[in-house]
Amino acid sequence: MTEDRPRQRRKEHAWGKFYFSQAFKQAPWRSQTQMIGLFFIALVVVLLVAAVYLTISGQASAAGLTALNLDTKRSNLERTIADKKADLALLTSASIMEQRAKDMGFQPADPDNVIYVVVPGYTGRQTAILAPPPGIVEEEGPVVKSIYRQSLWDWLFQGINRLSNSVEGK
């Protein structure tokens, strides 16, 4: 029973080969269809690769353009912030504030008419703290990550390289 199995498999294989040859002889268009099919598969693969490549390139370019636009916007905002700070400082300058106070009927305090009271928990006026103290500094990375600039071939070759390295145990 066990010895008959290899012989039977060989017979089946020969029969299958004969069957396909016979089928193609009887209908030669099948061969053409196969060729056309293979051609279209190759074409679809090429188109897919091109589409992926174009999409990634387009996205990378769009990201780069966005980054450039954002950088310009940031510069504009920084200038605007500086300008607003200067405007605010002008509006609250000592001379203007003094004039406003006078216009509102205030007078400079004299040591004789100042009343001092103890306010529990009040430690006095604190000097300016305009930024947090030194701590962990976060390093800024590149604007566009390298993965977005990688071509399909770069990605493919790097993948193959990684694979071969892992196979070689590097």
Binding site: G64, A67, N76, E98, Y116, A131, P142, V144
Partner: protein, 593 residues
């Protein structure tokens, strides 16, 4: 052959045609990419594919101790002409002349230049133009563009070709307030601008940040990083805007009322060395820095408080007396009979009034500012120790205050060719020795701060990369003991009270000393021209301020006790309010609660 062609089915014909077409496309692609034109195109892409951009950090801000902006930046515009697009130079010249005040002929000539690619492309016609004016120009440009699209009609007005770009300009919102401390930044020089004087010069490197050039790819796909320059560090000064303003106001009034040439007032926290106010005349508005040469004529220092050396006169006696008490040579109650003259090194020294004041204690010597007594004290202390103490007080050395332009006059000591024995006497009462006001302030800080001499400074903190770094107090020496400091403070407090000085402030205990120094004119001391000064601190049990007043050549009176002491009082009266210091009695009772 023809039969062979005829025998081909139509489908195969189509296949051949499409194949040939595809091959032709391929050949053309290769030809386009390898032709001479393609090389030119590549070269052009290399040349114009990147923009060389100069990136400059925004100059850091300067704040006072409470966060009030003393120096910042505002947005202004550079206006230029892109010659390629100019349609009507007359309109451009007329508009800029009427709105920005630019010279019509200059603008017209600039805008009329012929466009030459690569060499004559853009001309700047105005700079530092305010945003309001730019808005007016923009509105006009749009209006003209509607009535004359693309400037096609040369007879109609058009502002085509006129462009503007924003940049920052240094601004000092408080105008001349603390100008001597701040210095100035010549913003008109956009390429090589750097700070001059004060903190603008001292901390120029911190404030300026970075200036670098970077290639920016114009192809967004090529862009990897955008070079940026973080803003320069911002500075928080120890200066109190309100105290500074009050001090400047008092100084200006004092200079005017006493007829003094100039004056200086320094207010410092003697425990920390923080300069709360530093006023000096003359002063200028750093927004109009080009007036510098008109205001500071014939070598007048920008900040006399740190750059002008002068003979301080009797305020120096506090150092002599402090040294002598510290060395144990005299005590407050030590007696001295003033005969009105003393000979030192073969030269006779007299009192300021040429009078003899009879029996005195050391308190009386200070109270009456007796040159003869202090000369005797110096001789008792001895030459070597006297100069050791002066050295310890920092006389003859820079204080290293963090302001640009500090000057120092070397102290003549025994062994120097210019030193004579009489110098011991004259130096003891502040003649024959030259100091800057800030040197006197630093030396006096040891008397007001338990013998510890602190380094005067104006930088409280700086902000860099979004983080605030606070500066630390620096004790630069202990020239005298705490006990001596308390003793001399008590002596000076008593002497002021006993003479009913104009420096006294009701309700507050202050210690201080007047000074009247004759000024050497053509090698001879003039009795008509003096430096009048006053140094004092308070409250005496817990000093929170130290005030130094110097009036140069007052004409209403030559005496420090008459012209400088009232200025000290006026400053202190404002200080106690601005610093929330209650009167002594009230403060001590509140402290007990």
């Amino acid at each position: 052959m023809i039969d062979w062609f005829r025998s081909l089915p139509r489908m195969k014909w189509l296949a051949i045609i499409f194949t040939l077409f595809a091959v032709a496309i391929g050949v053309q692609m290769i030809r386009v990419q390898t032709s001479a034109s393609a090389k030119n195109l590549n070269q052009w892409a290399e040349n114009y594919g990147y923009e060389l951009r100069t990136i400059q950090s925004e100059r850091g801000y300067i704040y006072d101790r409470w966060g009030h902006l003393l120096a910042g930046n505002k947005e202004v515009y550079e206006v230029g002409v892109e010659l390629q697009y100019v349609a009507n130079p007359i309109t451009i010249a007329t508009t800029l002349a009427s709105i920005t005040g630019a010279d019509y002929n200059t603008v017209f000539t600039a805008a009329s230049q012929a466009y030459v690619a690569g060499s004559s492309v853009y001309v700047t016609v105005a700079d530092f133009v305010d945003v309001d004016k730019i808005n007016q120009i923009e509105a006009l440009k749009e209006q003209y563009e509607e009535s004359n699209p693309y400037g096609e009609d040369p007879d109609k007005p058009s502002l085509r070709g006129l462009v503007w770009s924003a940049h920052l300009q240094r601004i000092y919102p408080e105008n001349s307030l603390a100008a001597n401390v701040l210095g100035f930044y010549p913003y008109l020089d956009r390429e090589n601008g750097r700070g001059f004087f004060g903190v603008e010069e001292e901390y120029n490197d911190l404030l300026a940040g970075e200036k670098k050039q970077g290639l920016i790819p114009l192809d967004p796909y090529q862009m990897e990083t955008i070079p940026t320059a973080p803003a320069g560090a911002s500075l928080i000064l120890t200066i109190d805007r309100d105290i500074q303003r009050s001090t400047e106001s008092i100084l200006d009034a004092a200079v005017k009322s006493t007829g003094a040439d100039n004056g200086t007032i320094i207010v410092m926290d003697p425990k920390t060395g923080e300069i709360l106010a530093m006023a000096s005349t003359p002063r200028m508005d750093p927004n109009k820095y080009w007036e510098y040469s008109d205001i500071f004529k014939s070598g007048i220092p920008y900040n006399k408080a740190i750059s002008q050396v002068y003979e301080p006169g009797s305020v120096f006696k506090i150092l002599t007396m402090a040294g002598a008490i510290d060395a144990g040579v005299v005590k407050p109650e030590t007696g001295f009979t003033d005969s009105g003259a003393i000979e030192v090194g073969g030269v006779t020294i007299y009192n300021w009034d040429r009078g003899a004041w009879g029996p005195q204690t050391m308190v009386g010597c200070l109270q009456h500012s007796l040159n003869v007594c202090l000369s005797w004290v110096a001789t008792q202390l001895g030459t070597e120790k006297f100069y050791q103490y002066l050295d310890a007080f920092g006389i003859g050395h820079r204080t290293n205050i963090d302001l640009a332009g500090e000057e120092v006059f070397p102290l003549s000591e025994p062994g120097d060719p210019m030193w004579y024995q009489v110098n011991l006497a004259t130096n003891s009462f502040g003649q024959g020795v030259a100091v800057t006001p800030i040197q006197m302030v630093m030396a006096a800080s040891s008397l007001a701060n338990d013998g510890k001499m602190v380094s005067p400074h104006v930088l409280k903190a700086y902000i860099q990369n979004g983080q605030q770094y606070n500066t630390a107090i620096q004790v630069v020496g202990n020239p005298i003991s705490a006990e001596t400091a308390h003793t001399i403070t008590k002596m000076l407090e008593t002497s002021l009270q006993q003479e009913s000085s104009d420096a006294l402030v009701e309700g507050y205990s202050v210690a201080g000393k007047t000074g009247t120094a004759e000024i050497a004119v053509n090698g001879q001391y003039s009795s008509n021209q003096t430096n009048a000064s006053f140094v004092g601190w308070g409250p005496t049990d817990d000093p929170q301020f130290l005030v130094y007043v110097w009036l140069e050549k007052p004409s209403s009176s030559i005496w420090g006790s008459v012209v400088a002491a009232p200025v000290f009082r006026d400053v202190v009266k404002q200080l106690v309010v601005l610093m929330n210091i209650p009167p002594d009695a009230e403060r001590l009772s509140l402290k007990g609660q």
